[in-house]
Structures are given as C-alpha cells and as structure tokens.
C-alpha cells in the first residue's frame, strides 16, 4: 500500500513543484513504513529512473500520446486506475495549477478525503491530520482525513526538495484513456522568464515607482537574483505592468523563499497574496508603510537609490560583477 505521487510535467520536463511533492511523498511513505511510487502521464524527455534520488522506488509511466495534453477529466480517470492497480492509500500532488484541477476530481472519484495546500507532513499519531494554510495565510487549520484513501496536495515552496542516491524502476502503465473533451488550441508563454507562481525569489514593485518607465531597476534586480517580477494591484490596474504580474488577494497568491517589495505600501489585500513568503524585504521611503510590520528586513529609503545599489551588492556576492 504505497504512497503514490503524481509527477507533473511541462514540455517533457518534471516541474520543480513535483520534486517537492516527490520528496514529501517519500517522507510520508517512510513515516507510514511503506514505499513511495510515482506516476507520470504523457511523454517525457527527462530520465525518470533518476527521480529515484528523491526517494521513489517505482514510477508508473502511462506514456500514451493522448496524455500529452493536460485534461483534468482524462487525467483523473487514469490516476484512479494507477491508484487502484498499486493499491495506494495516500496520494500526493503538488497543489500547483495542475494539482488544483485534478486532485479534487480524484478525491470524488476515489471518495478520498483531500487536503489542498498542505504545508507539513501528516500527523499520524492519532488518525491522519494534515496542516494547511487558511484565511490566505493568516491562519492554519489541521484537517483530519477520515477516509481509507487520503489525498494531499502540497503547497508549492512549502517543503524543501532533497535529492539523495537511488534509482527508480520505471514500469509502463497501460491505461484506458477517454477522449478529451477539451481541445488545446494554443499556448502563449513568456520565454526566458521565471514563472511567477514557481519562482523562489520574487521582486515586486508598486506605485512608488512613479511610472512604468522606471521598471528597469526592478528588472535588473530580478535578473541578478534569477527572480520573477511582480507588481501591486494599482500598478496592474494602471496598465504599467501586465495583469499576470499582479500579486495579492485578487491576483496571484505566491509563497517564494524571498519576496522583495519595492514602493508597495502593503495594504492587507496585497499581504494576503504574499504573506506566505518565507523572507520578506520591504523598501519604502515612508517609514509608516504598513508593509514594514509584515517584513523581516526593511530599508526606509528612496527605491531609485537603494535598488541599483542592491543589484550591485548582489552581483558582488554572486561573483558576477
């Protein structure tokens, strides 16, 4: 009765958030005294056996071309087959975009209780209880899963990836696959940029930048940190920056290791989208900006002077000056 981990891929590569899920799933298996197995749908270019170093012993690979396009309905049916064949009792997803679409479907299909957005390993001392964030990161809840099969969707960036030694046995899985009802007609991707919701470091700026023409220093800082760029709601509403950069209550919720907020006052709606970040740095010339209360580090000062200096100092540390 292994722990089964869904390994999400994009363009043939395993997503970083899935490596976290693999590490987490292997740890859950260890805790339960069982083994961890992975499942991959569609064709991949990555070496799946090498995923053994994250602690999985076996990988079920349903490589049919019909699974190359993500479809929650089709994927949930295939995953249910793999779960049944492997008699998995715990199924782990990353609570990334794919996980949010499939895990609830699989929960219904298997009548398995789902904890979405888990942030810690399950407590199995008395039942099966998993901690998750609620109220947009302002609190947490311990959720007791009452069903025989349990599904955990792990919050991205909540569990550190760990690679050791080992190789996984890759076995082909022959799935019954329904025809997808959703047709993918196109994909648009900002090439070369770090996806916001996957980024470990996010550099974000607000109205304090005074206009879109001043974003060069923000982008320079993001570049040396290999960070994604983000912005506050007024900035997106004013079309200074694209809407897909808006973080906050009504934009994207993110949880990077490091969030640098430049010229953002830190309204509660903004904090709701970023307060799960591990380390928050605030640069604002107003010492009364509410964001300082939620920050770990701060500089009260002019962004136009501070940010370029920061970029230079980081270059020195990274040895790229």
């Amino acid at each position: 009765m292994p722990v089964l981990i869904f390994i999400d891929t994009a363009e043939g590569h395993v997503k970083k958030s899935s490596l976290e899920a693999l590490t987490y799933g292997a740890k859950v298996a260890e805790q339960l005294g069982t083994t961890a197995e992975g499942v991959v749908l569609g064709s991949v270019t990555d070496d799946l056996a090498a995923l053994g170093k994250y602690g999985v012993k076996k990988i079920h690979h349903a490589a049919a071309d019909a699974l190359n396009h993500f479809d929650a309905q089709v994927f949930a049916k295939v995953l249910a087959q793999v779960a049944e064949a492997s008699s998995a009792k715990v199924i782990v997803f990353s609570n990334n975009l794919s996980g949010k679409a499939i895990a609830p479907r699989l929960s219904v299909r298997l009548k398995a209780g789902l904890v979405s957005g888990a942030v810690a390993l399950p407590d199995t001392s008395n039942g099966f209880v998993v901690k998750k964030n609620v109220f947009s990161g302002k609190a947490f809840a311990n959720i007791a899963v009452k069903t025989d099969i349990k599904i955990i969707a792990l919050s991205p960036n909540a569990y550190q990836t760990f690679a050791g030694e080992g190789s996984a046995e890759v076995v082909a899985f022959n799935a019954t696959i329904d025809a997808a009802k959703i047709k993918v007609t196109g994909v648009s991707k900002a090439s070369g940029e770090v996806p916001l919701t996957e980024a470990e470091v996010v550099v974000s700026a607000g109205r304090g930048m005074k206009g879109p023409e001043h974003w060069g220093i923000v982008e320079d800082l993001a570049k040396v940190l290999h960070a994604a760029t983000a912005c506050s709601r007024p900035v997106a509403d004013a079309h200074w920056r694209p809407h897909n950069e808006h973080v906050g209550q009504t934009g994207f919720a993110i949880a990077p290791n490091l969030y640098i907020a430049i010229g953002i006052s830190g309204a509660i709606q903004h904090l709701a989208g970023v307060n799960r970040s591990k380390v928050i740095v605030v640069i604002n010339k107003d010492p009364e900006a509410p964001f300082f209360k939620a920050a770990d580090y701060g500089i009260v000062g002019d962004a136009f002077e501070v940010v370029p200096k920061m970029t230079e100092a980081i270059k020195k540390i990274k040895g790229t000056a």
Binding site: P104, V134, F140, A144, K189, N244, I268, I299
Partner: protein, 247 residues
Amino acid sequence: MKILVCISKTPDTTAKIAFTDNNTKFDTGGVQWIINPYDEWYALVRAIELKEADPSTVIHLITVGAADAEPIIRKALALGGDEAIRVNADNHDSYYIASQIAEVAKQGGYDLIFTGKETIDYNGSSIGGMVSELLDLPYVSLAAKFDLAGTKATITREIEGGEEMNEVELPVVVSCQKGMAEQRIPNMKGIMGARTKPLKVVEPVAVDTLTSVAGFGLPPAKAGVKLVSPDNVEELVRLLHEEAKAI
C-alpha cells in the same frame, strides 16, 4: 443558455482572524461578511456580461449555507442573476458542499457552471473540480478569459509562466480568476430588484464528509522587521545571504 454561479460567504479581507471553542471554530464575532471576491468579481460578473450579450440567458446563483448567508446572496442578486438557490446546510467539507451543488445542478440542466478559483477563507480551490467530477463534465480551472460562440466555449486558462487556450463544447465547469471580468458596484435599481427575485431554499441531500477540521491556529508572530540604513545596502544583502540564507 442556463448558467449556475456558485457563491460563497466569506469574512471580509480585513476581518480579524481568531478562533473559539478551544481553537476548533472560527470566531465570527464582529466579522463583516462579503461575497467571496473570486465568486463575485470574476464568476458572477462574467455571467452577467454573457447575459447582457444574450438576454435569453438565465443565471441562477447557488450557495450552501445557513439562513445567515441570505444577505450575501441578496447582494449577489443585486449585481445580477435571475434567481438564487440556498441549500440549507451548515458548512461542512468541500466534498459535502460540492455534492449539494452537483445535486442542484443535475436537476437544473445548466450549460455552464462558474465558481471562483477559491474561497478566501478555506483556500481549498476544490469545489469546481469536485462538482465537475460528480457531474462527469469537463473542467477548466483558473480561467482568465471566457467567450462563447453558440455552444462552443473558448477559454484561456493559466499555466505555469503563461496561458493556454482551450475550446470545449458546453456543458462545462469553469473556475474563474483575475482577467475574466472587472468588479462592479450594484446600482439602486439592482438593489431594489434583488428584494423581489426568487430565493429558493432547498434541503441538503445526505452526504458523508470526507474530512473535518481538527483545530485552527495562528502562525507565530514575526520577530519584527530588522531595519537597515539606506546608506548601507551591502549590509542588507549580507543579512539576506548569511542570516536569512535567502540569496
């Protein structure tokens, strides 16, 4: 064309988060309730726009909750929608709520079911997916654009670092996020009209819950901000590198 919009009642974003009964219940004392912003701004307003484009469209709103959810559903009706259904049940888990919605949806013959991408209290992001599986319908999650041509929907959904364009024949379940529509303020005509729109109360079907809340907690308070002088930016970078190990 018949649309079902799922509406949830949530505490206002600025509400103080506290718990009672030995940390097993959310403290509702003094809390202002609002329509979950994703349900309102994106799901409901997009449905209203579709009705404006095709006036023969019928919009039903559904909420699963006790009688105290009625002010919220009236407020939603003031924005638009033809009638509302309240499933008279206390809050249970996502599976229970989704099952109630699916039950109503089965009888209603809807072409389109909209949910917000998540609620701002439980942050589950699960209802849309669960409803779609219960009804065996296709599901597009985290949609940022939705257009209709006859019975064919063209939907743009978020993927990591970009967008994907989807086409699907109705019926379909869609979870809505930023980009779908812009926030609206109800006008006086809407508010007056909402008072007389039908609000049907139905009793829940018997469904097991799969999970329960064992307890709540608050994250440890931040230690407080460590301020660095603007003349010493190198020190900030050093702290981030050596102390926080964030870069």
